[in-house]
Amino acid sequence: MREQEIFFKHSLRINDYLCQGCTTCMRSCPTGAIRIRGGKAVFNDNKCVDCGECMKVCPHKAIYIKQDDFCLIENYGYRVCLVPTTFIGQFDEKYKTKAIYSCLKKLGFTHIYEVEHEVDNMVDLYNQYMEDHPEIRTFISSYCPAVTRLIQVRFPSLVENIIRLRSPLELASRVIIKRLMDEGARREAIGVFYVTPCAAKIAAVKSPVSGKETCISGVINMDFLYNKVQLLLHDSPRDVQPINHALTSRGVLWPLAGGEASLFKGDHYAVDGLQNVLNFLEKLEDEAIDAPGLVEMRICDQGCVGGVLATNNRFVARKRLEYRARLFDRLQRTRKPEPRNMDPEFAKYIAEQMEIPEIKPRSLYKLNDDFAEAFKMASRMRKIEKALPGVNCSACGTPSCAALAEDIVRGEARMDTCIFINPHSQASADAVRRIWGDRVKPGEDNKNNP
């Protein structure tokens, strides 16, 4: 609980022993949340949106996701594994879904429940929301928590376009708790553990954007659980317990890029991958594109199968899920459909619980709360930027010359951290000039600055 004072609680961590300060993560961060200090990467917690891009690109495996201790599950009599279908997609089709679930039980879980079990109810909630808000032209799905946070800090004017409903994960956790309690379980005895494919989902559980409390007791990294299950499967692939699962193809495909959008009748768009998301939001904000309808957005390429904790190749995982979706559809036809309607009182409770009252914009660009002061800083920043070499070498420990200019006006860096402006010897000045030419002209722009 030590990070209460910051806006977002993060799960991404840097292993200082492995970090070489190579600048790769810093340069890939979409919100400029990383700097190099003392030879190591450090995060600015108020800028990070948990997209996990830094962890994906780190060549030294120095960035990791802090997970809850697996032993936590022992604290509960009812140990529910809330598993997204992305997890099933990690395994070869030759393993039955029941076999995978049997392994989870061997590891200590008493109940297995799929996050996407409730997508049909989720679609109903979405449709109702869109009907209730005719004034909004473009609805942005709130499914990917990294997208929601990215919009908060980089595209504040689009905050009102986000569908203010919590995720299928929150819905599923409440439904399974209700079911177990209906069977006689005490609430305190139920522990719900979510298997996450990414850093953003952990952060969303630990500090939900809604500010409302979550029903999830702990979060387990998908790669950790994958290794354990794969080992068990390998040793005894035919040890299968009878476990009922009622996933539909709609649920299986939901975490994939396009899986969510395609469930809606009206106009819809499926945008996946960090650069595509940034580009789309930028254009949407300028009204340079008109996108009436629902926009599904996933920070990871191909959707959640592209998550940083998904072990196997995203395209292979996608194919596997598509295979299982066809299989489940065939099974579904031979089986009595589960009743979809919740009892009215529970449905009312769910509708209240799923609502996010407000999503606050938190622009990370704003230089100062006072307009006049911000104006002065912005003018100075432009001047400094012109004086810097513009080669974005990152030797100053910031991602770009523009970022250094911003750090300087914010008082977090000095002009002389630029090695072009302040070479440590005549020889290095000569070397810089040989390679880059006359990039810096010491003159009026530089001398006013510290």
Binding site: S157, D286, E287, A288, F371, A374, F375, R382
Partner: protein, 137 residues
């Protein structure tokens, strides 16, 4: 703070650079998102107008402590009937421009809607200068 951009006839691909960089500065200044949106939408519309109709031009943006003034000046055919052009849905855009999704006749009306002050100087055969002002605080 002053910004200058150039406009090239028919180059829809590069449209939006002016609005993007203005947007960034306004975000740094902590301008209210609704005002940022108005500014950026107006500027983008004016730029598209010049790209679609004129033979090239320039965008000059000045931001001071209370307002932003955007001047889009083109060397173009000029607007023969300004009253008509200000009507929603009225357009002289070519079929080619319409094919690209522009030319719905909403450009100038949309600019008027989004700015606090709009001045249009136009002369047929010479060009059009659109001066847009948005009060930021």
């Amino acid at each position: 703070m002053h910004y200058t951009f150039t406009i090239e006839r028919g180059n829809f691909t590069d449209a939006g650079q002016a609005s993007s960089s203005v947007k960034r500065t306004l975000k740094q200044l902590g301008v209210d998102p609704a005002n940022i949106k108005r500014t950026v939408v107006a500027l983008f519309e004016a730029e598209i107008n010049a790209i679609a109709h004129a033979y090239g031009g320039t965008i000059d943006v000045d931001i001071d402590e209370g307002k932003i003034v955007m001047v889009v000046a083109d060397q173009g055919p000029g607007i023969p009937n300004l009253d008509l052009a200000m009507q929603e849905g009225w357009s002289t855009a070519s079929a080619k421009v319409r094919e690209m999704g522009y030319g719905a006749g909403m450009g100038l009306p949309n600019i008027k809607k989004n700015t606090d002050d709009l001045k249009i100087d136009t002369e047929v055969g010479v060009g059009t200068t659109v001066t847009m002002t948005v009060y930021l605080v």
